[in-house]
């Protein structure tokens, strides 16, 4: 800050750094340490044994299944939405963007409630589904549907931003030169947006695996059948099986840490690109993360 007050601002600077480090230590690092230390308090073997429990394995499997469906579907949707919004002008475009961002401002419990009201017995199409013996709520399809809703804007938001920043000149040049739509997408668009795409996939994966509130409403909590990993952690914790709960939680915490590392690496990459005078790669700015 001011040159003439250097010694004063220097003390202020270290005070600010100290406050920040202390706050981060208590609020961000300590909970992480608690997860790992609680999981390992009875030893590594006990932790592994807790993870090998059949119900935990079933929960992991369900979480993986949900992720394998929800992430590709929402990524494909994000690509479609990004292409339509970035490459064309049409009325209602900003309204469409607002609607896509809506799930961000909905409480997870309300998200679950909405799907119960649509697909549950006594719901909107519930009776029809029941007549055809299709179970959605309190079953796996309901878990997948609500997860799709909650994580819908993540990949889409990122892909729309990246595609909009890219413009459409190169694609249009290729089109006039006779390239097919598929060629344009695979040879021009995809290489340009690959890091943004990767970023969007990482964000949705982390969020999909960890979704709790919305899934809790629609799952019905049938152990070994409709409990995802976060729901299973709740069950274990509530029956005072703390070590097992935290052991399962370490899996999700490790995924969260991997996500943070990948995000930091991607940001460094785009930053380095921005420093070069070469055509700027659309940056996956940190603002895009505002809602998780």
């Amino acid at each position: 800050m001011a040159g003439s007050h250097r010694s004063g601002t220097r003390a202020g600077r270290w005070l600010l750094i100290g406050v920040t480090v202390l706050f981060f230590a208590v609020f961000l690092f300590a909970p992480l340490v608690v997860v790992f230390s609680s999981a390992l308090q009875k030893g590594f073997g006990y932790c592994l044994a807790a993870l090998a429990d059949p119900e935990t394995v079933a929960a992991v499997r369900l979480t993986l299944l949900t992720t394998c469906i929800a992430v590709p579907v929402n990524t494909l949707f994000g690509l479609c939405a990004g292409w339509a919004i970035a490459k064309y002008e049409f009325p209602g475009k900003s309204l469409l963007k607002t609607v896509i961002a809506l799930p961000f401002s909905v409480s997870p419990v309300i998200a679950g409630l909405m799907f119960v009201l649509v697909y549950g017995s006594g719901g909107w199409i519930g009776p029809w589904l029941e007549a055809h013996h299709i179970r959605v709520i309190f079953a796996v399809p309901g878990i997948i549907l609500t997860t799709l809703f909650v994580t819908l804007p993540l990949a889409a938001h990122e892909l729309i931003a990246v595609l909009e920043a890219q413009g459409r000149e190169e694609e249009e040049a290729a089109w006039t030169l006779g390239a097919t739509g598929r060629q344009i997408f695979c040879k021009i668009t995809l290489p340009k947006i690959k890091w943004g795409l990767f970023y969007g996939v990482i964000l949705s994966t982390a969020r999909t695996m960890g979704e709790f509130g919305a899934v809790s409403v629609v799952s019905g909590h049938i152990r070994g059948l409709t409990n995802t990993l976060p729901l299973h952690i709740e069950v274990l914790y509530n029956q005072y099986d703390t070590v097992a709960a935290f052991s399962a939680a370490t899996l999700l915490a490790l995924i969260a840490l991997a996500t943070l590392a990948a995000k930091a690496a991607l940001e460094r990459r785009t930053e380095r690109r921005r420093d070069r005078p070469a055509p700027a790669q659309a940056t996956s700015g940190r603002e895009e993360w505002t809602w998780a």
């Binding site: 800050m1 001011a2 007050h5 004063g8 601002t9 600010l16 406050v19 920040t20 480090v21 706050f23 981060f24 208590v26 609020f27 909970p31 992480l32 608690v34 997860v35 690509l79 479609c80 939405a81 292409w83 490459k87 002008e89 049409f90 009325p91 609607v99 896509i100 809506l102 799930p103 401002s105 909905v106 409480s107 419990v109 309300i110 998200a111 409630l113 909405m114 009201l117 549950g120 006594g122 909107w124 809703f149 739509g181 997408f185 982390a206 960890g210 979704e211 509130g213 809790s216 976060p230 935290f246 939680a249 969260a256 840490l257 996500t259 943070l260 993360w289 505002t290 809602w291 998780a292």
Partner: protein
């Protein structure tokens, strides 16, 4: 079909991509919203009023709003210095701090919930220390504020960081050479352009806090009238198959967060005008 200036080359795929987008948005977002609103409307105005003003619901709504407000204030108090430190200073470990800011986004809320409950429970380290000073955290409203402050921190920091990075330091130096004291530089030069970002970070943290469920349910204890937050009331009504009642409370919460989010948009728009007006 696709509009745009005349002579624009139209790329292929407009019909297909827009069709898929609109269809998916209708099925996944618009229909569920419409059904929620219709369900609420099945209660008439009187029934809606009765449901929402029931003592237990009112207590929960008040608790959710107040704790979210306090948590957002804590986020501003600690988030503004953190954003400043992370974007202006360099010190060992800065990259690590910067990366870990997003932990509350990346860590599943249930994991955060049980970790915070263990920490601040009577058996946990910080919990035991605070208990000695007569402050109970777990299973009290204080615990709810702690959980929401954890969840909301990145909103303030990540909204502020790019704005602080874009500040022109030469203006601060000019103010200092013209005789402004550090306090004057801070309040007259640095703070004004940060205000919109602080407000929007605050509102985002608040809106998220009002609807937050996973990180709070473990630490709050969910005692009706005392530590029961609004999302838990919705959950309880659902378990009692009171779908219309659950929908009514949900609509109130939705209105709160939509109003707050529109406020954020407004602040961002105004800030945009303000910034371009100066340049």
């Amino acid at each position: 079909m696709a509009g745009g200036p005349k002579g624009r080359i139209l790329l292929p795929g407009f019909g297909m991509t827009l069709g898929v987008t609109v269809f998916y948005v209708c099925v996944m977002i618009l229909i569920p919203f419409a059904v929620l609103v219709l369900k609420t409307a099945s209660l008439n105005l009187h029934g809606f009023y009765e449901t929402v003003t029931a003592p237990r619901v009112m207590a929960a709504l008040r608790l959710s709003l107040l704790t979210a407000l306090m948590a957002a204030c804590i986020n501003v108090v600690f988030g503004v210095p953190a954003a400043w430190v992370l974007s202006r200073y360099s010190f060992p470990g800065k990259r690590l701090l910067d990366a870990v800011v997003d932990l509350p986004f990346a860590l599943p809320t249930a994991v955060a919930g049980i970790a915070l409950t263990s920490m601040f429970g009577p058996a946990g380290g910080p919990g035991a220390i605070l208990e000695r000073f007569g402050v109970r955290v777990a299973f009290t409203p204080v615990g709810i504020v702690v959980a929401l402050a954890f969840i909301g921190l990145p909103f303030v920091v990540r909204t502020l960081q790019p704005v602080i990075e874009s500040l022109d330091r030469r203006v601060e130096e000019a103010a200092a050479t013209l005789g402004a004291s550090p306090a004057q530089v801070f309040f007259r030069v640095i703070l004004p352009p940060l205000v919109p970002a602080v407000l929007s970070g605050f509102s985002l943290a608040f809106a998220r806090g009002v609807g937050e469920y996973g990180s709070v349910v473990f630490i709050s204890g969910n005692m009706p009238m005392r530590t029961e937050i609004a999302p838990v009331v919705i959950m309880t009504k659902l378990q009692q198959f009171d779908y219309a009642g659950a929908a009514a409370v949900a609509v109130v919460l939705l209105i709160v967060s939509l109003v707050v989010m529109s406020l954020v948009r407004l602040i961002e728009l105004r800030a945009g005008f303000w910034r371009t007006g100066v340049r």
